[in-house]
C-alpha cells in the first residue's frame, strides 16, 4: 500500500543523500520525494511517497527515524485523516479551435487553471491528490501531451496532530 511519510530533518548538507541512500541501499520504493525549508531555518521538511507491505512500511519508518539527522517523523497515511496535495504543470498541444475548447473544458472540470497560451500550446496548472492528476492526464489525448511536470505529493494531517518540534 502507498504511504506518505513526512519528516523534519536537520538542514545539513548531505541530509537528503542519507535518505535517498537508505532507500536505494535497502531496496525500498520511492515514488516521490520532496524537500523544502520550513519556517524554522534549521529544519527542512521532507515528504516521501513510498509503497510496500505493512512490514516494509514499518521498517522504512524505523530506518528513517534511525538516521541521526532526522528529528521527527510521521507516517501521514498511518495517522488517519490527512490532506494530500500535488502540483502538476502540463503543456498540451492546442493548435486547433476544437482542441483548445476541449482542453479548456477538461481544465474546468478538473478545476485547473490555464497559465499560458500560445498559438499552438496551453499550459495548465492542476493541484490535487495524485489520482486526480492521473485522471487529468488520462482525459487528455496522449499524443497532445507535450510535457508534464509534477511536484510529488506533500501532505499534512488533519486536526490537532502536527509534525513539529
Amino acid at each position: 500500500m502507498q504511504h506518505i511519510i513526512s519528516l523534519l530533518m536537520e538542514n545539513e548538507s548531505g541530509a537528503l543523500s542519507r535518505v535517498a541512500g537508505l532507500f536505494s541501499a535497502r531496496g525500498y520504493n520511492i515514488e516521490s520525494l520532496t524537500v523544502a525549508p520550513t519556517e524554522d531555518e534549521t529544519l527542512s521538511r521532507m515528504t516521501i511517497v513510498t509503497s510496500g507491505s505493512n512490514e516494509i512500511i514499518e521498517q522504512i519508518n524505523k530506518q528513517l527515524d534511525k538516521l541521526i539527522d532526522v528529528v521527527k517523523l510521521i507516517d501521514i497515511t498511518a495517522n488517519g485523516e490527512h490532506i494530500e496535495r500535488e502540483l502538476m504543470l502540463i503543456k498540451v498541444q492546442a493548435d486547433t479551435s476544437e482542441k483548445r475548447e476541449e482542453v479548456k473544458r477538461q481544465a474546468d472540470i478538473f478545476k485547473g487553471r490555464i497559465l499560458d497560451v500560445t498559438d499552438t500550446t496551453y499550459i495548465i496548472e492542476l493541484t490535487g491528490e495524485g489520482s486526480k492528476l492521473d485522471g487529468f492526464i488520462k482525459a487528455m489525448d496522449t499524443k497532445d501531451i507535450l510535457e508534464t511536470v509534477r511536484s510529488g505529493a506533500t501532505g499534512i494531517t488533519r486536526g490537532e496532530t502536527c509534525l513539529k518540534l
Partner: protein, 569 residues
C-alpha cells in the same frame, strides 16, 4: 585557551580520555601529525595499512568496551579504511575514524587525493560529518564520540579538510564535556506493560529458549544475563557475536546456534515454544530459512535498536531498551510475580535437549595422523587455561574456534561476524593486546586470511605486542573449499592457496619467532613453548588436515532441523 585546529584535535582527544590512536600519515593530515609530535598524552600506533588501523582500533574497542580511534589521510587513506569501517558497522562496534580531506576550497575539484569520503562511507557508518569551520571542530568530534558510543554503537567518520587544522589560525578552545542532539535520543524508557507481558510469556513457556547475541556483550549485560538465565533454569544459546556473555561450559548453555551451531542448540530453536531473543538480530546465518524458523514459537525480543525488531522475523513481544537494564527489570518482575517456571514441562524439555546433546555433534577423528584443527583449539584452550583473548580471521578456523574454545567471559572472543572480513584477526589482536597489556592474546587464522593483513607483523614488532598467531594452515581457503565440496561437486575452483610463503621465515624476517608444527603429538608442547615466551610474538604454523570440514552445518536457506552432520567410521 586559544588553539589552532591541529592542537584542538590532539587536545580534544586528550580531554576525551583517548589512549591510543591508530593511524597512518599523509598530506591532508600532516598538520595533525605535527600536533601529535608535540604532545605525549595520546599514543599514536603506526600501522602498515589503513585497513589494519581500523581493525586494530576495532579490536581495542571490542576488548575494552571503549571507542577505537583511527586517523587516516584523504583519498587512498580513506578508501583503505572503508573495509574496517564496514566491519565495525556490521558488528555495531564504536569507532571514531578521522579522515583527512583536501583543503575546503579544493573540495569538488578532483584535487590530488580527493575522494568524497562522506559519500563513500555513508552506507557503512552510523553517522558521518564533514567539518566546515574550525569553530565546529571540537563539538563535531564530541558528537562523533557521543554517537559512536551510545545507543546501538557504531563507527562514525569525521572528515576534516586540511585548512581546518591550519596551525596559524587560532580560536578559543574549551572541551565540550557533554553534548545533546535534538535529533538523536539514545536513551529509552522501558515500557512497563511490555515487561509484564514478557514475564507472563516466559513463565508460561513449556519449551523455552534464550537466544543471546552481540548486544548482550555490547551492553555489558553479562552478569544480568547469567542471573536471569539461572533464575529461570532455561536453556541458552549464543550467537557467534555473543559468545562469552554467558559462560561456556555451563549446564544451561547448549552452545552456539546457526549455520555451524550445535545440533542441540539448533534443534531446540526449531522446537521451542517461547523464544527469548536478547540483543540478537536474527541474522540469516543464525536463522537459516525464515519460513522454517522457530515455527511454533512466540518471540520476545529485546533490542536497543527499534529497527532490529521484526526486521527479519515477526516479534510478538518487542522490548526496546538497553539489554542490561531490561534484564534487570525482567529479573525483578519475575521475582515479584511469585510465579515459577513450569517445572514438569521444563524437565521433559531438558530431557529432550540432553538427548540431542548426546549426539556429540562436534566429535571429530581423534586418531588422525594429521593435525586436526579442532585438536589445536582444544589444546589452545587447555594451554591458555581458557583465559585468553582470542581474535580470529574468517573461514573454517573461525568456526572451529567458536566451537572449541570455550569463552567464559564477554569481550574475549573477537571476530568479524557480520562482514566476515579476512584480514581482521592480526590487527585486531594488536589492538586487543594494547588495550589489555597484561593479557594473553591469541590470533587464530588461516594461511589465506593471514596474508590479507600480514604487513601488520611489523606493527606488532614495533609496539612489542606478544601475540600468539595460530595459523591453521590447510593449504586451502578451507571454507570456500568446503562449500565447493558440498555444493559444486568438489570442483575446487581457485580455493587452493598455492605458492605459500615460508611462514617461519616470514615471521623471523619481521623480527618474530616462527614455528612450524606438523605432527599431532607436537601440538601441545609447541603451544606451551610459545605461550611461555611472554614478550615475543610467536607465529605458529600448524600444518593441518587439508580436507577437514566444519560440522554440523545448515546449508544456506535450510531450516534448523536440517543439519549436515559428520559421519565418522
Amino acid at each position: 585557551m586559544e588553539l589552532s585546529g591541529d592542537d584542538i584535535f590532539t587536545q580534544f582527544l586528550k580531554d576525551e580520555g583517548v589512549e591510543y590512536i591508530f593511524g597512518y600519515p599523509g598530506g591532508a593530515v600532516l598538520h595533525i601529525y605535527d600536533a601529535l609530535f608535540r604532545q605525549d598524552a595520546v599514543k599514536h600506533i603506526l600501522v602498515r595499512h589503513e585497513q589494519g588501523a581500523t581493525h586494530a582500533a576495532d579490536g581495542y574497542a571490542r576488548s575494552t568496551g571503549k571507542p577505537g580511534v583511527v586517523l587516516v589521510t584523504s583519498g587512498p587513506g580513506a578508501t583503505n579504511a572503508v573495509t574496517g569501517i564496514a566491519t565495525a558497522y556490521l558488528d555495531s562496534i564504536p569507532l571514531v575514524v578521522i579522515t583527512g580531506q583536501v583543503t575546503s576550497a579544493f573540495i569538488g575539484s578532483d584535487a590530488f587525493q580527493e575522494v568524497d569520503s562522506v559519500g563513500i562511507t555513508r552506507p557503512c557508518v552510523k553517522h558521518n560529518f564533514l567539518v566546515k569551520d574550525v569553530k565546529d571542530l571540537a563539538v563535531t568530534l564530541k558528537k562523533a564520540f557521543y554517537v559512536a558510543t551510545t545507543g546501538r554503537p557504531g563507527p562514525v567518520v569525521v572528515d576534516i579538510p586540511k585548512d581546518i587544522t591550519d596551525p596559524n589560525i587560532k580560536i578559543p578552545y574549551e572541551y565540550p564535556a557533554s553534548i545533546e542532539l535534538r535529533s538523536y535520543k539514545p536513551v529509552v524508557e522501558v515500557q512497563a506493560p511490555q515487561i509484564e507481558t514478557a514475564v507472563d510469556a516466559l513463565l508460561s513457556a513449556k519449551r523455552p529458549m534464550i537466544y543471546s547475541g552481540g548486544g548482550s556483550v555490547l551492553s555489558n549485560a553479562s552478569n544480568e544475563l547469567r542471573t536471569f538465565t539461572r533464575q529461570l533454569g532455561y536453556p541458552i544459546t549464543q550467537t557467534l557475536m555473543g559468545l562469552g556473555a554467558y559462560p561456556d561450559p555451563d549446564p544451561l548453555n547448549v552452545g552456539m546456534l546457526g549455520m555451524h551451531g550445535t545440533y542441540e542448540a539448533n534443534m531446540a530453536m526449531h522446537d521451542c515454544d517461547v523464544l527469548f531473543a536478547v540483543g540478537a538480530r536474527f541474522d540469516d546465518r543464525v536463522t537459516g530459512d525464515l519460513e522454517q524458523f522457530c515455527p511454533n514459537a512466540k518471540v520476545i525480543h529485546i533490542d536497543i535498536d527499534p529497527a532490529s525488531i521484526s526486521k527479519n522475523v515477526h516479534v510478538d513481544i518487542p522490548i526496546i531498551g538497553d539489554v542490561k537494564q531490561v534484564l534487570v527489570e525482567l529479573s525483578n518482575a519475575i521475582t515479584a510475580s511469585k510465579r515459577e517456571p513450569d517445572a514438569k514441562a521444563l524437565k521433559s524439555w531438558w530431557k529432550q535437549i540432553k538427548e540431542w546433546s548426546s549426539k556429540d555433534c562436534l566429535r571429530y577423528d581423534r586418531n588422525s595422523a594429521l593435525i586436526k584443527p579442532q585438536f589445536v583449539l582444544e589444546k589452545l584452550y587447555e594451554v591458555t587455561g581458557g583465559d585468553a583473548f582470542v581474535t580470529s580471521d574468517v573461514g573454517q578456523h573461525q568456526m572451529f574456534t567458536a566451537q572449541f574454545y570455550k569463552f567464559d567471559e564477554p569481550r574475549r572472543w573477537i571476530n568479524s561476524g557480520g562482514l566476515g572480513t579476512m584480514g581482521f584477526g592480526l590487527p585486531a589482536a594488536i589492538g586487543t593486546q594494547l588495550g589489555n597489556p597484561d593479557a594473553t592474546v591469541a590470533c587464530v587464522t588461516g594461511e589465506a586470511s593471514i596474508q590479507m593483513c600480514i604487513q601488520e607483523l611489523a606493527t606488532a614488532f614495533q609496539y612489542s605486542t606478544p601475540i600468539k598467531v595460530i595459523n591453521l594452515n590447510n593449504r586451502y581457503m578451507g571454507m570456500v573449499r568446503q562449500w565447493q565440496e558440498f555444493f559444486y561437486e568438489s570442483r575446487y575452483s581457485q580455493s587452493y592457496v598455492e605458492a605459500l610463503p615460508d611462514f617461519v621465515k616470514l615471521a623471523e624476517a619481521y623480527g618474530h619467532v616462527g614455528m612450524q608444527i606438523e605432527k599431532p603429538e607436537d601440538v601441545e608442547g609447541a603451544l606451551k613453548e610459545a605461550f611461555a615466551m611472554k614478550d615475543r610474538l610467536v607465529f605458529m604454523d600448524f600444518i593441518t588436515d587439508q580436507k577437514e570440514n566444519v560440522y554440523p552445518m545448515i546449508a544456506a536457506g535450510k531450516g534448523h532441523h536440517e543439519m549436515h552432520e559428520r559421519e565418522l567410521a
